[in-house]
Amino acid sequence: MASLYLLIPLGVGVVLGAIGIFIWATSSGQFDELDQQGGRMPDDEP
């Protein structure tokens, strides 16, 4: 049970981190066009 003292705050931290990443991804336009993103990686090749 003692491990919960560490795991719960850690879990909360992970959730808040996920929220941050999600907001970043949205604001950088990655969810604007869901079909086109799959093609982005090959397009990046030099």
Partner: protein, 760 residues
């Protein structure tokens, strides 16, 4: 709250062109209203503008209002001030702004929904022990409660911010709407839970609050996305315009952004480029492709001194020069774009009904919640139990499912139609589409393919038809004219013998007067029969009898061949007409074309009622006659002369190459350039109508059952939230039920890769 603004700057006459199109009957403007969120706000905006402005369209989703006003009678600043005072937060849109603003807002809305869903799920995980009455030791329990607060805070405060803001606006302006109980329930649930977390005891409602935010966000997002998508496509179409211009100053050319153009400037447009502004053609005649504006696929010839329009493409082979007369928001193209915006502000009638119903609900809910709280206090159950009852009433009876019922079904149907190659630009047309019993078709470009094909060839000088076609193809090679396409396309087909092979040189395009050139040592000319410089035999005139365009090939002394160019029937037209007739629909053709051509098409399709040489006015009269007889009419067309017909029909569909103006009036766009998608679209519309009816029945029924339970305290808030969510899920799930096995239409089969796979 912000300071009262000074709006008078918008009265300055020099700003007016940038705000809206000025016409004979007033000035048309489109404003952003950031403060509208519900049917009541719409009514409020209409009340504020009523009497002072005409043609008021409020779009709840795009949060815009379009109207016309007379600058002589009323000041724009006065209207703006009154809208501001009513809490509607008007913003003046610069002409280019809406698209970028819409994209930014869509991103933000998406981010809020995502955050709300993450938080809702995580809070539920953390609340899990309490759902099952598990009592971990005290310290762990406290830790779990604080963790819930930490995760719920962004989910309620940030993701739910628009809900609070909307509720506050409604309270401030004194008009109750659905946002008030929503905001109240959220604030009460979150506030009470936060206090109880600090106190260290009592039930928590963080899960309820986050789930609430999530579902409301999804409903609004779905509603907004359908329309945003349709709008984007149309905007894209009308957005086909130049961004920079080549200005001639002195002897040199400089490239400048079109925003810096001034009336009076001389600009040069390279072949294949779009004209940056409206203007007057200088120096030489030019061939222009005006299909964006008129839908006319043939380039038209303009002489020096004639007016040319921004958005048309230099279809000739030499640069052209023009003097700018109108630029930016004054151009005809910009006015069309504005029409599109206005067309987007129509709201489906069913939706209006549902919104109004939701509005009436609200007052009742607030009364019930207050009554529940009072009763509990009178019974002596304590403030804690009273709060729980009030919360349960607020949450359980929130008309979420009611407000989702219509948009979810329409969004699902719209998405399904898009996969089948039909783009819905006005979701309100779907219920009408389900009731269609009469179809009016335009002929040219709708039942027939817009591109011409060589029908008959008449050889006059003993040459083989193949030989004549090869010479014609060599001459037309490299020309952008649609007549050229009729000759050059067959050459690439395997049936074209040795594949052409002739090489023409000294090619000269004479705008409006054909093409001359040499093949080997022989000089040739090809062009319209009326322009031929040599006498034509009488049988050449006979070729035009069935409505064909006659093209003549000559050398320097005599005519070598005549070609009859015909528009071909669309391959899927026959199948569609047969299918519609099987469904017992009345089908009629109304065309501006010659009688022979229309009769031929009608005969081929087995359509009995048709009329040729119909003006836009005549088409409209026939439509009104049909509507008076009680018919629900679907009009299908593409040309500019169809625009009034499409606007007046109960439902209208336009072909994708049609004029932008025509498309702006159409409810449906047939994206795959195929008529075949129409029949399946009727099925989808009928299914959508059934879904809406079922959804509304369910949502109303659910609320009626659950309200007494919540009032009597038999419903814990978390159970109320779960019920509300399940009810919403059921409505959404029902909306998505569209018989997944059947393919939506031929377009889906032909080019699956080109259709975006929708997530819905």
């Amino acid at each position: 709250m912000s300071q009262p603004r000074d709006w008078t700057v918008f009265d300055r006459p020099e700003l007016r062109p940038a705000l809206g199109a000025e016409g004979r009957d007033g000035c048309e403007v489109l404003l952003a209203l950031d403060g509208i969120h519900c049917a009541n706000c719409v009514a409020r905006a209409e009340r504020v503008l009523g009497g002072k402005a005409a043609d008021v369209h409020v779009n709840l989703t795009a949060r815009t209002v379009g109207f016309r006003f007379r600058p002589q009678q009323v000041r724009l600043s006065e209207l703006l001030r009154e809208l501001d005072r009513a809490g509607l937060e008007p913003r003046v849109l610069a002409h280019e702004e809406p698209a970028a603003r819409a994209a930014r807002e869509r991103r933000l809305a998406f981010a809020r929904i995502g955050v709300a869903s993450i938080c809702a799920m995580q809070v539920m995980m953390l609340a899990w022990p309490s759902y099952f009455g598990v009592r971990p030791d005290h310290a762990i329990e406290q830790l779990l409660r604080w963790a819930q607060l930490a995760v719920a805070a962004p989910g309620v405060l940030w993701a739910g911010w628009p809900l609070f803001a909307a509720g506050w606006r409604a309270v401030r302006s004194g008009a109750l709407d659905m946002n008030v109980p929503v905001a109240l329930a959220l604030a009460a649930a979150f506030g009470a839970s936060a206090l109880r977390t600090l106190a260290g005891s009592g039930d928590l409602y963080f899960d309820t609050a986050t789930m609430f935010v999530w579902f409301l966000g999804v409903g609004r997002y779905l509603e907004g996305r359908t329309r945003a998508r349709a709008g984007e496509r149309l905007r894209l179409l009308a957005g086909r315009r130049a961004l920079t211009a080549q200005r001639r100053s002195g002897g040199a050319l400089e490239t400048i952004p079109i925003g810096s153009l001034q009336p009076g400037d001389t600009v040069v447009v390279a072949p294949g480029d779009a004209l940056p502004a409206d203007g007057e053609l200088l120096e030489v005649a030019a061939e222009l492709d005006e299909s964006l504006l008129t839908g006319e696929s043939h380039p038209v010839t303009r002489q020096p001194g004639q007016a040319v329009l921004a958005g048309s493409v230099n279809g000739g082979d030499a640069p052209l020069a023009l003097r700018v007369t109108h630029r930016g928001a004054d151009t005809t193209l910009a006015q069309i774009t504005r029409l599109l915006d206005l067309a987007q502000t129509r709201k489906p009638k069913v939706q209006q009904l549902a919104d109004r119903a939701a509005g009436h609900f609200v007052a009742a809910i607030l009364v019930f919640a207050a009554a529940g709280l009072l009763l509990a206090l009178l019974r002596g159950a304590g403030a804690d139990a009273g709060l729980s009852i009030a919360l349960a009433v607020l949450v359980a009876s929130c008309p979420c499912a009611l407000s989702l019922a219509v948009p979810a079904a329409l969004a699902a149907a719209t998405s399904r139609l898009a996969r089948g190659g039909v783009l819905v630009t006005n979701a309100g047309a779907l219920p009408a589409l389900a009731a269609v019993d009469t179809v009016l078709f335009d002929k040219t470009g709708t039942l027939t393919v817009p591109r011409l094909q060589v029908g008959r060839t008449l050889c006059l000088a003993g040459l083989a038809p193949q030989e004549c076609l090869r010479i014609a193809a060599a001459l037309e090679h490299g020309s952008r004219h649609p007549i050229a396409a009729a000759f050059t396309v067959p050459l690439t087909a395997p049936s074209a013998g040795d594949g052409g092979g002739l090489q023409a040189h000294d090619l000269r395009h004479l705008p409006g007067a054909g093409i001359s050139g040499r093949i080997g040592d022989t000089a040739y000319w090809i062009g319209a029969a009326a322009q031929a410089g040599v006498p034509l035999p009488p049988e050449a005139a006979g070729l035009a009898d069935d409505g064909s365009t006659v093209i003549v090939l000559t050398d320097t002394v005599r005519a070598l061949a005549c070609f009859a160019l015909q528009a071909q029937l669309r391959p899927e037209a026959r199948e569609l007409v047969g299918e519609l007739q099987r469904r017992g629909m009345n089908i009629e053709i109304y065309s501006g074309d010659a009688a022979e051509a229309v009769a031929a098409v009608a005969r081929q399709l087995g359509i009995e009622r048709y009329a040729a040489r119909q003006s836009a006015q005549a088409k409209l009269q026939r439509l009104q006659q049909l509507q008076q007889q009680g018919a629900t009419v679907l009009a299908v067309g593409d040309g500019l002369n169809d625009a009034p017909l499409l606007a007046a029909a109960d439902v209208s569909a336009a072909m994708p190459q049609g004029a932008a103006l025509t498309q702006a009036r159409a409810d449906l766009l047939l994206l795959g350039d195929s008529l075949g998608a129409l029949a399946p679209a009727l099925d989808v519309a009928q299914a959508a109508r059934r879904r809406i009816a079922e959804n509304l029945a369910w949502a109303l029924g659910y609320n009626l059952v659950v309200l007494p339970l919540a009032m009597s305290g038999h419903l814990a808030p978390w159970l109320a939230a779960a019920g509300m969510s399940m009810s919403s899920l059921l409505v959404v799930g029902n909306a998505l039920r569209f018989g997944g096995r059947r393919r939506a239409g031929p377009a889906a089969r032909i080019e699956p890769a080109a259709r975006p796979a929708e997530v819905l």
